[in-house]
Subunit: 198 residues, 2 copies
DNA sequence: AAAATATGTTACTATTCGGTAACAATATAA
DNA sequence: TTATATTGTTACCGAATAGTAACATATTTT
């Protein structure tokens, strides 16, 4: 008899719930202060059950990273394919990046990337971010080339940009006092024109 | 017989070394992956000796915070006493803030603030940062008042500013490829005028 | 010199927690 | 129905490590 969902789909859904709950707990209490027992009990299962969905504790971070980097890169694919100026690309990237990282799984990734204990995983994590950073640098260089962005050190600018954007993850709550549109406007205004009134 | 240094001075020096070494290790390996035995062996002492200088592991974070916030507030006292425009104040704050947080103890504080397990300590840590943030907001408001800073949401601007400045701590190494002066120039240019070429 | 204080060590406890082995139940397919 | 794969549980192990008690040594003060 055919179910609504296949086994594989149900399995994927459960994994998603684990990631979301774990990510939330990691952000609230911290990675080391959140035990696998804590995470398991959020799902109303026991710890060994988790090991059917994840390899080990660190694997949760890896999976959060895969999901998030996948989204960011897909977004970059779209934005960079458009026939617009470098500045407009950067503008759109920022707008949509904020939309992506306001999510527990993404916030968890941002906060823990490059901190895996396993050396291979750590290297891969660092590379994943560097790749994204390089794509944004490419946008900045295009903007400098087409004259829409002030001549500057694209490396430093890209990093500063990510610092302020990723910093959002540690204080911005989607349901908080600050409206997402107002936040996005302020970020875009600051990045675009700075603070000077002149 | 009078020594070069009094007991109290020697004690303070040893505490400083402990804080510096611990902060460095926390930044390199992470707080939870650095044991008190690790820290002790850097001093060529044993773990119980540390407890003569610190109350417990968390107290290291508290002491790093006290040192760093003390420095920042003293700097703000100076800068805010000057008879200059709000924008110039902000400019000087940024320049000197970068100078302060390029230091292992300060970096350790930035990375771990508000993450103490003890509730009282955590609340105090959050308050310490909020106080500093409020002083910077005051600078921004003054700038808006005297017309030197574009009209904007001072709360969001202050946070974004701290995000990008504090973000430096996670990648900038004083002995690395990027020169501190060039970095400061780029930050000031970005905050001042943004990325637009027009 | 003797007393008091500061600084250090060795040896140990208690607890937390990631991970696993062995076993039980349930759903799917033949 | 029977066989098989999947999903779950209970009970346990081993390692790491924050913190302490008891004891030893050095340094300053009286």
């Amino acid at each position: 008899m055919q179910q609504n969902l296949t086994r594989e789909e149900k399995r994927q859904q459960k994994l998603d719930v684990i990631l979301r709950n774990a990510a939330k707990a990691f952000m609230e209490r911290g990675y080391y202060k959140t035990s696998l027992d804590d995470i398991a009990s959020m799902q109303n299962v026991t710890k060994p059950t988790l090991y059917y969905y994840i390899k080990n504790k660190e694997d949760i971070l890896v999976k959060c990273e895969e999901v998030t980097c996948g989204r960011i890169n897909a977004m970059l694919d779209e934005v960079m394919a458009k026939n617009i100026s470098g500045y407009e690309m950067l503008y759109q990237f920022i707008m949509r990046y904020i939309g992506i990282i306001i999510d527990d799984v993404a916030r968890c990734h941002v906060r823990h990337r490059g901190q895996m204990e396993d050396e291979m995983l750590r290297a891969q994590s660092i590379k994943n971010h560097k790749d994204i950073e390089n794509r944004v640098r490419e946008i900045i260089r295009r903007g400098i080339g087409d004259g829409s962005i002030r001549n500057c050190n694209s490396t430093i600018l890209a990093i500063l940009l990510f610092d302020s954007l990723n910093g959002l993850t540690s204080w911005y709550k989607a349901d908080g006092k600050v409206d997402q549109n107002e936040l996005t406007d302020e970020v875009l205004a600051l990045v675009g024109s700075g603070v000077c009134s002149t």
